[in-house]
Symmetry: C2
Subunit: 309 residues, 2 copies
Amino acid sequence: MSLKYAVIGTGAIGGYYGGNLAHSGQEVHFLFHSDYDYVKEHGLQIDSINGNFHLSDVLAYRKTKDMPACDVVLVALKSTNNSLLNELLPPLLHQDTVVILIQNGLGLEADLQETFPELQIAGGLAFICSSKIGKGHIGHFDYGKLNLGSYSCRDSKVLEQVCSDFEGAGIESNILELELARWMKLVWNIPYNGMTVVLNTETDILMNHPSTAQLLKEMMLDVIRGANHVGQGKFIIPESYADEMLQMTQQMKPYSPSMKLDFDAHRPLEIEYIYTRPIIEAQKAGYEMIRVSMLEKQLRFIQDQYIKK
Amino acid sequence: MSLKYAVIGTGAIGGYYGGNLAHSGQEVHFLFHSDYDYVKEHGLQIDSINGNFHLSDVLAYRKTKDMPACDVVLVALKSTNNSLLNELLPPLLHQDTVVILIQNGLGLEADLQETFPELQIAGGLAFICSSKIGKGHIGHFDYGKLNLGSYSCRDSKVLEQVCSDFEGAGIESNILELELARWMKLVWNIPYNGMTVVLNTETDILMNHPSTAQLLKEMMLDVIRGANHVGQGKFIIPESYADEMLQMTQQMKPYSPSMKLDFDAHRPLEIEYIYTRPIIEAQKAGYEMIRVSMLEKQLRFIQDQYIKK
């Protein structure tokens, strides 16, 4: 079975994963925004720690209505732009299309399902340091794993094929229980994204100060406890996972999380799905993530003060 | 009974209160640091919403060892400089001297008492917007009340006389239970000082954003609950006091709290007595002020990143 792929949001994430799929021989149709003309003429350049490559014949589009219906749509937009999906998706869908939201946070799939009740939706969790370093030019600096999980797929075959296609493109990929996987990723994303923004700093500087190192751990435990209230009977994240995340981060290069990059570029912050929804889900399950909630309020203030809307 | 006063720290607070006492005819000896030469030549100018005045013959000193022993020592240093008191105080003390710490936070008197076990100590709580606007020049913009409370005074007479001297100088003054008064002031100081620093803003902007307005209130309730754990059997602050403080602040002019002024001037922040000690006292009494503790950690990080030591 050969799948036809579409990528919505060809930036640091979509460009890297879609570019690798295309490089490995898969049929990948890319939606571009401002880079369309450049890529049409010059192609797409991926500079990766695993080896650089260039795609000269990119299936590039400016509008989804010019694209074919695809079997798999990889959505790598900022979640702050997810309302665009209502118009972007329909031309790409056939009866069995699977839409994979490669985004951080909670509630993304539920929101999309409301608009498209029959759609098969999955989530993707990217463990990667990459960024757009120029027009049609993606840099990949560390990691690269892409985990997948079904939200409303009617059978598991397509997702398994996607996983196998990524492996074939040299990208580590696993299929996981989506809700657990999303919460586990939040254990990292919630403290580091927000704290680097509020304190205008980088991960290693936060780790090297005893006060913020302690706060990061306390906030991870907040998230783990929130997750475990939500997961009751379904899953459990051991509290030792906080120490694992701290150790992993200590071994990482100094790093600006995606929200810090958005902040520095005066882009809207992904507060809703990374903070607000998890806070609400944990609250519903009877747990108040007090530190997370405080950080969310600080972020909402900062966004409204400094970010161009 | 006529009291002999000394003022240590002749800035926004010490200059205003000591200046008013001197202006009303009390004998006040002022310790100056960098402004000594200027004040010796030009005197001290107080520009106040209650009327401006000038003191031409100021009893100014560069060192406490040149000052006479006094009945009352008003300490208006930044609490980050309290270690200086060990050397500054002894020349000013006679057997019955009362030292009044006009500073914010908790634990100030206890720390001083450790060094001077026989000393009579009181606390002062200034409700005032004032600042040093130039050499020997104090501006007073709003409020002005000075409340006093005994920590270890052997009899109440001196403090009552101080209170009456301030009233005679046109300054509203009351004698209160010190621990309760300190906690009540912290209900305002803890949220506004730290939040204006961490979010680099002013009180009115915090009040006008729904997220930070809510967070300010939640943090006030944290402080009130911490206080009430500490105060069990001694005092209670009603939770409605949070709304009173919010309403009062809404009626204030846009305002940079003292910690924000310190931050802007790259001076050390009064984290220890305004945050750390209250957190520890509440913990000992069985209450975790989680938001206050998070703010304290953010402040310690910021201080170590940005403030000149």
